[in-house]
Amino acid sequence: MRTALEHPARIGPRDHLIGAALTAAYVALLLATSSDIGMARDEGFYVEAGESYAGWWRLFLDGDESALEQATIDRYWSVNHEHPSLPKSLFALSWIAEERFHLFANHSAAFRFPGMVLSALSLWLLYLFGARAYSRYVGLFAAAAYALIPTVFYHSHLDCFDGPIVTMLTWVTYLYWRSLTQPRFAILAGVAYGLCLETKHNAWILPLVLLVHFLGFVLPAELASRRVGHRPRVNLRPDWLIAFALLGPPIFVMLWPWLWNDTVQRFGEYAGFHFGHTHYNTQYLGTTYFGEPSPSSFPFVETLFTVPLVIVVLAVLGIAMRFRAMLPPGTLGIWPRGTAVPDVRRTDAMLFGVMLAPMVVLAMPWTPIFGGNKHFLVAFVNLALFAGIAAHRVAVVASTELKQHARAYAPLAAPFVFVLLLAPSIHETEHSHPFGLSHYTWIAGGPPGAADLGMMRQFWGFTTRSLTPWLNANAPEGSRVWLCDTLPTSFEMLHRDELLRRDIHAAYDMASADYAIVHHEEHFNEVDYQIWMTWGSPAPVHVLTYDGVPIISVYANPHR
């Protein structure tokens, strides 16, 4: 295998084939495992939005001119207008395709499919990024390491935006990076940024991060290089930023019909929602947080506890290996040891910055508390790249050793290292399914260790799906279930997907229900106590567990 990280081989169609294969394989895996995961709370909202938007798309695709009238647009697009429309439009189009051609195994897969594809495309990007910046081994390892982070695997299933926005942010970063030496990529970067804006508001901070990289690293280095007579290597005009500014907003508005009327006022409403975002209750290291200050260590500890330890350690080693190359221009002297040399695009500094930025934003005490790691999954992309750099080094060392002591086995060194370093990730991801949000890695003591530490158990009420075998087997005909945190739309999807008996219904009044469930999050304890008072008994008839940790308690109404 190649021993140097710099100056990788030319990337060609074969690499795109590898990227496409990674994407296709991941989508296939996500599709095959999708029905194990119940619809999360937010997915239910996006199904409602997708079905509403589908109504408009049908009119539009049928050439109905009323589709462009404000009354029609508002009728279909007002639903869930706190988030942009691109993913939800894709959910809608996928749903229309399902209605017409019956392409999917069940309804939820139809809504989720675009999210799966958009999420899986990050692997293609990640492979290309790694291969171009460092080596094919780095790219391949990074793609696999990212795909096999348990929470990434979970979120990649959903008809939500958290997987897609990772791909969009990575795509924009990649195109920005390429535009530094090949200005023609700037236009594509502008288009990608528009699509990124149209995917989720995480897009807002990326230009700032890239601008810091451009002004603080790329520009000074290039100017210094030119001053000593080197030929121009980097485009000093920020074409990418101009493209972001010129193409981003129009694409953002163009793809979101709700913004076609009263644009300024409605954009203000959209932005205002996120600037004034509510705090989500989050249990973290024994404390349930309800508001400011947000615990600053949260994103870092959450990363340590949810990303397989080997990948975290590899990433730290990769950062250490490349640290010298991340230093700002003119400061190389403070780290005289080592051989890492910055490239003209200052790739290492960019990746480090893009990795750190969302974590730092979420670590600010005044940032709204969101909980979970879904808001900084993009950090894991870059973390995986640094892990890939260290994995490459391990493979080189192993190969060199084998060449000296068992030459016949030397060619096996790289694949052996690849598989062994990813073995914990494979195991953890396989085991985490379908409890991805409840999973914590070995360093946290697994799910029971995390429960001891007072970490958040779950959110979104999606685990009701894991109860369906019990309900199907035990609930008398016509039973009504009080749902706690599961959205009615999400519960109904269990019927649509034929995972729950049709005669088992949702109940909206606890007292008259036959069963009541409690999704175990610390601040939901009050629901347990309400049930004790309503039905008299504090004893659940069934507790759904994951590695011995309670996920859902089921109470039966003794008076039913």
Partner: protein, 298 residues
Amino acid sequence: MLPLACVELVGSLVVRARVPDANDWNVAAEAVASEWQEGDAVTVAPRWADPLLREAMGRALGERFDRSIAGSPGLDGDTRLWAFSIRGHDSPLLGEGTFEHEATYGRVRVERRRLPGRLVLFDFVDKLESASATRGERSCSLTHARASGGGLGAGPVMAASHFSCGGDVIGETVIEDLHFEPRRCISMRPSGMGSVTLRYDDVPLGEALVLHAGLHWVDERHHIEPEHTGAPVMLSVIAGERSLGELTHRDGDGWASYTIAVPEELRGTRQPLSFVVQSEQSHDRSFCWAGRSLGGAP
């Protein structure tokens, strides 16, 4: 790095292998149920295992396992404590009483401790329906309705039998205290129209009245974060015309215990006792209390 991968892989498998299974809980609960006595209490460590304990104990004890056990306001008067534990945890309640017995069932450990066990002369929550209530000048009527309400953020649910005082109620409930623990108690919100009074006509008095009080967590949390703004709530205990004591709950106290020594001359007598709740603030003051009149050692 390669050894670390092996350690992480094996470590994950070990974590899974050490998980107690449902049978461990059931066998342990059945063993406890076979020796269960009136006055026994139960706890579990870590607290997150509480649903597993309740499932197993409910199965083993049936209707005897009720909310007075699961939502016990304190151990006053209880005679024995069964402390379940897993994963090497120790219940904070293990400091109570003296060790009697320990057994392990699979991966579930059960320790039994003898508690001081003072004689319970009167339980104010259990005997709530024998009391009379007034809110300001207005009498409250004892009503029997279906328990209703429930849902995230909906607050405590009142028992089906409760005192109806116009727009408010006095009744048994289980609140979630500041630390998310269940506390079975009598809900007595202060009134904006004066004091709220609960009167028991015939209470046997012993050495002490042990009271516990707190607010439903949402009300108390809102006022301690970021600053204390909720008004204190006072509970006065009056025997006939004589004040026996008063407790004051301030935000941040959480579920707190108070002991009122009964004057020597009243010990062994039966007295009418009034519990009077007052506060300058009525909204967000979901005050709830529980208590027992205790004698000496049984």
